[in-house]
Amino acid sequence: MSTEPQSASLRYDAVVIGAGHNGLVHAGYLARAGMRTLLLEQRHLVGGAAITEELLPGFRFTTFSYAISLLRPEIVDDLDLVEHGLMVLPLANTFQPGLNGEYLALGPDADANYHEIARFSAEDAEAARDLDHLIARLCVALKPWMDRIPPNVRSNDPADLEALAELRAFMEGLDPEVRALGERFASSSAAEILDETFEHDLVKSLYASSGIIGSMVSPRDRESGLVWLFHKMGEYDGSPGSWGFHKGGNGGFTQVLARACEAFGGEIRTEARVRRVLHEGGTVRGVELEDGQRIEAPVVVSALDPRQTFTRLVDPADMPADLIEHLEGYKYQGSASKVNFALSDLPTFPGLEDKPDLFRGFTNLGPSIDYLHQAFTEAKEGRFSRRPFIDCCIQSTVDPGMSPPGKHVMSCFVMYTPYQLAEGTWDDQRDALGDTVQETLEEFFPGFSELVLHREVVTPLDIERAVGLSEGNIFAGELFDSQLFLNRPAPGWNQYRTPLSGYYQCGSGTHPGGCVSGGPGMLAARQVLRDAQAGA
């Protein structure tokens, strides 16, 4: 990696803008196909929303994203990621504390989980098995559509018409039970599905959190159904819907991607912010950096979000008016923050002091649908939730390299924290958010505050500033049906191309969407290479 301009040649076969994990995956695929590829990153490090930073000596923080599940398995093989250090550690447990000292402590054994849930309701424990199985079946059925370039509904190309017919046939051919669940997710809120399935609130809340992650929706809003499904589309070693933790954090993962990209001959330049994309007569010519330097390339790919890709890197006036109009309605409305802690020891939950593996996974603070809905209601009014939902992950329990021996790092993903505050700015509310999160943790884990050695608060504004994700939306745009698959980021422009010939998009704002999946980067590369072949 270098920060110096390469003086030898300022011409490349392809320039990729933004070394988030999708830019890295994408550049890796292009380089692997033999294209002279340059990846440009504005920051001093690659990874975008998937980085690890040592903010306190010995303590490594996953500043933004912190877990992995949706990573497309074929990327691992195609880009030789294992050879470059890929190692995903299991996060097998889920701890769901309730109020009044209740809790659910779940692990990898389905039978043990049955008994744990049956402490509250035997019917719920049974229903959980059914639901988990049916969701897994649905996700497996949908997987092929995650991993292909979606059809274009605005196209008359025979290939698109054929793909659309295939899609219809696929839907009709689905097992009726599986299909019914798919339709349920698309048309109902998480709460509606959960109320119909379970009787106990703590059990419902265990599932409800998947329906709100990173999204400005209440579990009672219709959109939460799809958000839930989306978060189940991944796997851990073939265990559907499970999550893992990359050695060294998600920054460890993007370092692996960078090595893979470079091993294929891709060049990566950091501290190289692209000011604009150069084009002429509807065809892309290259890019211009912030310092004025120009780099020529017949292929330029933006790994940024749709707002950046279509209205910042190019003049929106050069884009079709209907596309720009559509994108104005595209929702970002960032709603999540991170609060990361360095801890002198593990927190303790009253009554479970001697359960050492309690934190080897996720700890979900959001004990009921009412709790989550209340947290949402506050955010709707333009202030961050006073009792937020927090998804905690103490990664040093599975990866000792994350902290000094005996000490820990704890990543807290916090909902809801609206990008648009009704009063004040995030710059003056940052600490108040940190305090609120700490107080909430203190409520569940008495004595928590005494363990805190260091605290980092990352607001939606910080996400936008550091990574460039508009309004701090962690997925580069909400995961609503109006913004997914055929519509991501806009109908007619969901196949990674843009109105400019040679200009492509490969960020999370394209199918299959946000999360550390690499899917957008991989599929966009497929499109670029296919077009190059057709043109050659």
Partner: protein, 413 residues
């Protein structure tokens, strides 16, 4: 933390192997002694005791209990008298088997059922569909421990504690007191031998277990682990869920689902003709029987002893005969002109020390399912595939008279 059965406090001291495994979230002993054969022969030549408490236990009680069960189950619990038990299965609407289990009919308004997987909600939802109160079905899993006392001396040992077993016929159920605790006693089991199962209220678990162990002391009463049990059940031709079939409920595709006929339980369907009882899956099952659409059936295979010897002899090794019990998939081929003419597969394999021959439980096409039909069973001999001759053998391989004997004394060997 794994769950403990009510007998666990006593059993943990009896397990000499130090090995435990999980069954439905409970710790159970695969074997109590290092010699599984010793446990096995206790089942066949004296008596053995198994803790089978991890099974889910349901009580169906009240005026609608019978209606619900008659609608849920493939066999008709209305056809048995109070104080009788029935081995049955239940299907989904498409006629695929959900589970099998034994129903104990204590009275016309009180039934007990064991199941391998949770199914309380399933039956309650079914009750709701019928307009029956959900509370008709109760999960009583934690209220009871279950012990299986199996083997030719089972009656003799039990008789030292109660006379309730004396007149108890095969699949009979009665209540009795053992060590001052009320016990539900049924003449049932999973070994194909003379035997009883005892539903012991949780608080009576240790006293009843102690009383049984004491009563059997002079008769070589031996704790049996799950491995010896599974050997015995292959000889009895009894299927094991998640080994020989899986529940339709959590299958992914129909290839993994099986109908009663495909599981070799056509006998459960015979009484259907005589009544128009509407039970879940009936329509699909009738259709299957009428059109002969069963994809296969499940049957025993008796492996030819000479051929079994031959393939090992030729390889220069001893044929494995000691404590051989496997739950691996072994292919079955049609004996025809075509080499390796795939026909089906075996799911359980056991070298029966008692019967002196290898046995398998297998799925084969209907046309091959004729008693005595010769097929090839693929073994692995020094890590290579090797076919041996096997013959279709319906029903159980071992079926001693004492299992069902009525007369007093016949229970003794």
């Amino acid at each position: 933390m794994p769950q403990s059965t009510p007998f666990q406090p006593r059993l943990s001291g009896l397990n000499q192997t130090g090995v435990w495994k999980l069954w439905a979230g409970y710790t159970v002993a695969p074997a109590y002694q290092h010699s599984i054969s010793t446990e096995y022969y206790a089942i066949r030549n004296s008596a053995a005791l198994l803790d089978t408490s991890p099974l889910f236990k349901l009580r169906f009680a009240g005026p609608s209990a019978e209606t619900l069960l008659r609608h849920a189950m493939v066999r008709d619990v209305g056809a048995i008298a109070d104080g009788r038990a029935q081995y049955t299965c239940w299907c989904d609407r498409r006629g695929y088997v959900l589970q099998d289990g034994v129903v104990l009919r204590l009275s016309s308004e009180d039934f007990l059922l064991t199941a391998a997987e949770p199914t309380l909600k399933y039956f309650r939802d079914l009750a709701s569909d019928l307009g029956i109160a959900r509370e008709t079905v109760q999960d009583v899993s934690l209220d009871y421990g279950i012990l299986a006392l199996q083997g030719p001396l089972a009656h003799r040992i039990l008789a030292r504690l109660t006379d309730a077993a004396d007149g108890l016929r095969y699949f009979g159920v009665t209540r009795c007191a053992i060590a001052s605790h009320g016990v539900i006693l049924s003449r049932t089991g999973y070994t194909g031998d003379l035997g009883y199962e005892l539903w012991v209220p949780r608080e009576g678990a240790l006293p009843v277990l102690d009383a049984l162990l004491e009563a059997g002391r002079g008769d070589n009463l031996t704790m049996m682990g799950t491995t010896a049990l599974k050997m015995a059940r292959v000889e009895a031709g009894l299927l094991l869920m998640d080994v020989d079939f899986r529940s339709s409920r959590h299958a992914w595709v129909d290839e993994q689902r099986e109908t009663p006929a495909e599981l070799g339980w056509a006998w459960m369907l015979r009484a259907m003709e005589r009544s128009d009882r509407d039970f879940v899956g009936r329509g699909a099952i009738e259709q299957e029987l009428a059109t002969g659409s069963s994809r296969w059936t499940t049957t025993g295979l008796a492996v030819d002893v000479h051929d079994y010897e031959r393939v090992h002899d030729e390889a220069g090794i001893l044929a494995p005969r000691h404590e051989v019990y496997e739950e691996t998939t072994m292919s079955v081929y049609r004996r025809s002109e075509t080499p390796w003419d795939y026909a089906g597969y075996a799911t359980s394999f056991h070298y029966s020390s008692l019967l002196r021959r290898p046995l398998a439980l297998a799925k084969i096409p209907m046309d091959l399912a004729v008693e005595g039909t010769e097929v090839d069973l693929e073994l692995t001999v020094i890590r290579r595939p090797q076919n041996v001759l096997a013959r279709v053998h319906g029903g159980s391989f071992f079926n001693p008279e004492r299992k069902i004997a009525v007369a007093e004394g016949v229970q003794n060997p």
